[in-house]
């Protein structure tokens, strides 16, 4: 009988020594799939912190134009005069950009690894038991949120597609003029397609967070009978709070509550 063709068979010794190329510590960790999942989780936490505080900060728009504009000015002049204006904000942005880059790189290389692990798909229909819509669509929700992020930055940060970004306003009682963030936001959401894209992208962000937040606990090895039962609840709650807060902004503008 012909010998069966096997996957690369190493020495069958019972105590096969494991040889690996020596790399610097962090690269060594990152070269494994489990290490990349740690990076996914840690960068995920950093970006979760960002989306939560971004949402909370934007709630200021319900307190009026002056409040939101002053909050934006506060971010621009964070730690001023210790640091020059805008520097601390750019350092924070630099951190976020590197977190996003690492998250994307880990996702991309893990996806490649997974494709390689099953080159021939099942030829009949799979019947998934536990995997849900959120976990099955992480790549797509992530990519659409990324596309939204690009638009969002062009719109409200760099003003490429928003003529109101960069306008200055002097609120009553102020001596200095500040950037009119409130006016830019209202102008942005007065365009219905922009508002709709915003709503859709945020719902997808919520779906991404619903699986991602739960997933962090597993990936980072935070598994403990004391809190295992509320991991799912925490993920659902976190995603819901971020989505409800964010989606309320375009709706408020379109409904005329803000503007």
């Amino acid at each position: 009988m012909a010998q069966a063709v096997t996957s690369q068979r190493g020495p069958v010794t019972g105590t096969a020594t494991h040889k690996r190329k020596k790399r610097p510590f962090l690269l060594d960790l990152y070269s494994t799939a489990v290490g990349k999942k740690y990076v996914m989780g840690i960068t995920g936490i950093a970006m979760m912190g960002f989306v939560l505080f971004h949402m909370i900060g934007n709630l200021k728009m319900y307190m009026g134009a002056a409040d939101l504009d002053h909050y934006a000015h506060f971010l621009q002049t964070l730690l001023y005069p210790l640091a020059p204006k805008g520097w601390v904000l750019w350092i924070l942005r630099g951190g976020l950009i590197s977190m996003l880059f690492l998250h994307l790189h880990a996702a991309w290389s893990l996806t490649r690894l997974n494709r390689h692990a099953r080159p021939v798909k099942y030829q009949s229909k799979r019947d998934y038991q536990i995997a849900n819509f959120a976990s099955r669509t992480m790549r797509w929700s992530g990519i659409i949120v990324l596309a939204f992020l690009v638009w969002h930055l062009l719109d409200l940060t760099f003003g490429v597609v928003n003529s109101h970004v960069g306008e200055m306003i002097t609120h009553s009682g102020d001596e200095e003029s500040v950037k009119s963030v409130y006016a830019s936001v209202v102008h942005s959401f007065d365009r219905t397609p922009v508002a709709l894209f915003y709503v859709v992208a945020n719902i997808l962000l919520g779906i991404h967070l619903f699986h991602g937040t739960w997933s962090i606990f597993q990936s980072l090895g935070w598994n403990n009978p004391r809190f295992n039962t509320w991991r799912r609840g925490f993920a659902t709650g976190f995603a819901a709070i971020v989505v409800l807060g964010n989606v309320s902004f375009p709706i408020a503008v379109m409904a005329g509550i803000v503007g």
Binding site: A4, V5, T6, S7, R9, G10, V12, T13, G14, T15, A16, H18, R20, F25, D28, L29, T32, A33, V34, G35, K36, K37, Y38, L110, L113, N114, H116, A117, R118, P119, V120, K121, Y122, Q123, S124, K125, R126, D127, Y128, Q129, I130, A131, S135, R136, M138, H211, W214, S215, F217, Q218, S219, L220, G221, W222, N223, N228
Partner: protein, 258 residues
């Protein structure tokens, strides 16, 4: 009382060899008792095929009592079929109805190449075990049983992981073809017990890295837990991840002392 199922249509994956192109072949089982196990149903089909001068369907099986981990089969898109916590050999025809069409496929993963029809080579699991799935014990007189006190809770938890029969359903069910549940179960089994402590961190590092070379990565779907005939919880994956992190840090410190 046994009932008889009638007119079961089977769509079975046939593949002549590892490199051959496979396809589904349809066979009809006219009548079968619901007391037959799934594999007995395939035996009966094979008897018929041999009588007709055709080639029997090749599938893996051994103990047929759910403890050896040899049987496999993707049945209607589920590893080990529709019954939870059950290996294919313990799945019975009473789970199906007359006139059902049942689709049977082999496990699919690059680490599990198809040998023939429904039989795959799971020796990639042996590579993971070889790299660390053992404890090193002194030779000499056998120690007395229960010489090392182990709490009931720890013993039970270790046993839950040790229940893994290495069938590969976790890899088959995983949308990414990852072996994290298998490797996690082996690591949890040994690292929960005092005998496993000496090699705890070198083991997890070696086993995870060997796993990485052959399998996909975990995206926390939980499909493996649902497919596992021993219902091993994905908690073992979190434990493995935690120990892997600790191993990387502690091994780094130990190496620095050299």
């Amino acid at each position: 009382m046994s009932n008889h199922l009638k007119n079961i249509t089977l769509r079975i994956w046939r593949q002549a060899g590892p490199a051959a192109k496979g396809n589904f072949e349809t066979h009809v089982v006219d009548e079968i008792t619901d007391e037959a196990s799934f594999l007995e149903m395939l035996d009966i089909l094979n008897d018929k095929l041999v009588t007709e001068g055709k080639e029997a369907v090749v599938f893996d099986h051994d103990c047929r009592e759910g403890i050896c981990g040899t049987c496999s089969l993707m049945i209607d898109g589920q590893a080990h079929g529709p019954q939870r916590g059950t290996a294919t050999c313990q799945l019975h025809m009473r789970q199906f109805k007359s006139n059902d069409t049942i689709t049977i496929e082999p496990w699919r993963a690059s680490a599990f190449p198809i040998i023939k029809d429904l039989m795959v080579d799971r020796s990639a699991f042996d590579r993971i075990i070889e790299s660390g799935g053992y404890i090193t014990a002194d030779t000499g007189g056998a120690p007395d049983a229960n010489l090392i006190p182990i709490s009931k809770i720890v013993a039970d938890a270790a046993m839950d992981s040790a229940a893994c029969i290495g069938c590969g359903a976790c890899v088959a069910a995983c949308p990414n073809g990852a072996a994290n549940l298998f490797t996690g179960a082996k690591i949890a089994h040994l690292s929960r017990l005092p005998q496993g402590q000496a090699e705890r961190y070198s083991r997890v590092e070696a086993m995870v890295e060997t796993m990485d070379e052959r399998f996909g990565s975990c995206t926390n779907h939980g499909e493996c837990e649902a497919a596992c005939p021993k219902e091993i919880s994905i908690d073992v994956i979190a434990l493995m991840n935690k120990d892997f992190r600790k191993a990387k840090f502690s091994n780094r410190k130990d190496l620095a002392r050299k």
